[in-house]
């Protein structure tokens, strides 16, 4: 009984055979389908892109939102001005930038920007003076040439005085004031001074 049920009859067998025959492949039809699929994907992507710029609903601006936006804009402007001014007020040796120059600077790639940030980062640099003194300070183009800005500390029980100062990469001129007397660093190159006729010392900063 069971065997009879599993064997298809002649009519059913003809139907199975007819269905097994695949229709001829029409390359033109396949091409049309692929083209339509591509068009569909493109239009979907554009629709999503547009979503990034267009509001999902018509903009409704309340008085509060307008005032909030205005205050935000004002704060941004003030913050920008303060930032520019702070950077401009930084002494040489630290990263500096001037407003007109900033306006002329081209946009740079992020990798380049980070490299520039690394280049601009000050490098801790040690200055050492060896000698008997009551007071030693450091003056240079990295501290406003201010005799009171950077004092050296004496190593207990020795004649060595030192201080470490963060300085930007590049060439810098400096001197020690030993008990208020201008003194060059004997271990450093001499910087001749055609402007004022007082030689100083030179340090090239570039090694962390």
């Amino acid at each position: 009984m069971t065997e009879h049920r599993d064997e298809p009859g002649p009519v059913v067998q003809r139907a199975i055979d007819a269905l097994r025959e695949l229709p001829a492949v029409r390359q033109e039809a396949i091409g049309r389908i692929l083209e339509a699929a591509a068009r569909s994907r493109l239009s979907d992507a554009q629709a999503h892109d547009d979503d990034l710029f267009l509001p999902a609903e018509p903009p409704r601006r309340s008085r509060g939102r307008v005032i909030g936006t205005a205050i935000g804009t004002a704060a941004a402007i003030i913050l920008s001005i303060v930032t520019i001014n702070r950077v401009r007020a930084t002494p040489r040796g630290s990263p500096t930038i001037d407003e007109p120059r900033a306006a002329m600077m081209p946009m740079v790639a992020p990798a380049s920007a980070s490299r520039k940030a690394i280049e601009a980062a000050p490098i801790p640099t040690q200055f050492v003076f060896d000698g008997r003194a009551r007071h030693v300070s450091l003056v240079g183009d990295f501290n406003n040439w201010d005799p009171h800005a950077t004092q050296l500390d004496r190593e207990p029980g020795s004649t060595l005085w030192s201080v470490t100062v963060p300085i930007a990469r590049g060439r810098h001129v400096y001197a020690f004031l030993v008990d208020s007397v201008w003194t060059v660093d004997k271990r450093a190159p001499v910087a001749r001074d055609p402007d004022f006729g007082v030689t100083g010392s030179v340090i090239l900063v570039g090694r962390p």
Partner: protein, 221 residues
């Protein structure tokens, strides 16, 4: 809208004034009034031309610390303003303040505009403050400007890093101090550095190879 304008004026105007006064505040108490006024005019002139103003203030303060006369300070800042402008032009199109300042220093030691242009062309997107500083120091050590420019430019093309250039300069200085001629010292140390650098044109490979400074003996002051 009026409120917003008033708000902006109240907050922004004093800040702007403070910006203009930043160089003045640095100079106050360090220079007499006449000298300070002259220096501030030079600062304004630099700002108008889009040049960095800090080097000018620094130069005036250097003169004050060295107890230079007003006339010498005026001459020094005027001369520096001119060099900054020349350096900015030679290092175009987008030099940073440190590069312009280093270029102005190099010009003071006899470097030429072409030397600055050469350095910029080799490193268009990186700071050349250190290479220019090394160039300045080599010239100060007694190396002729053309020779110093050629060597530094060639080393940059080979991918020499800032610290390698500084090590080279330190070595040249120590050899000169020991009695060698500046040019001979430069030649010797350049050969040594060339041995660890890639040939010109394959600089990135040299950098990737992790090549380090030339001389472990060279020290900071």
């Amino acid at each position: 809208m009026m409120r917003l304008a008033t708000l902006l004026a109240v907050f922004a105007f004093p800040v702007r004034l403070a910006a203009q006064d930043a160089p003045a505040s640095r100079l106050t108490g360090r220079l007499d009034e006449e000298t300070q006024a002259m220096v501030l005019r030079t600062v304004d002139s630099a700002r108008t031309r889009g040049l960095p103003v800090e080097p000018i203030v620094d130069k005036a303060l250097e003169g004050a610390t060295k107890r230079a006369t007003s006339v010498r300070i005026q001459a020094a800042v005027s001369s520096l303003l001119h060099r900054l402008e020349v350096a900015r032009e030679a290092l175009a199109p987008s030099p940073g303040p440190r590069d312009i300042t280093a270029g102005a220093d190099a010009l003071a030691y006899g470097a030429t505009r072409d030397a600055l242009r050469t350095m910029r062309a080799i490193r268009p997107n990186e700071s050349i403050a250190v290479p220019l500083g090394v160039l300045t120091q080599l010239v100060a050590s007694g190396v002729p400007i053309a020779r110093a420019t050629g060597v530094v430019a060639d080393l940059l093309r080979r991918g020499a890093r800032d610290e390698q250039l500084i090590a080279l300069n330190d070595d040249v200085r120590s050899y000169v101090a020991a009695g060698a001629s500046p040019e001979a010292a430069l030649d010797v140390r350049t050969r040594g550095l060339n041995a660890v650098l890639a040939p010109a044109g394959t600089a990135p490979a040299a950098a990737d190879a992790g090549i380090t400074g030339l001389s472990p003996a060279s020290k900071k002051p």
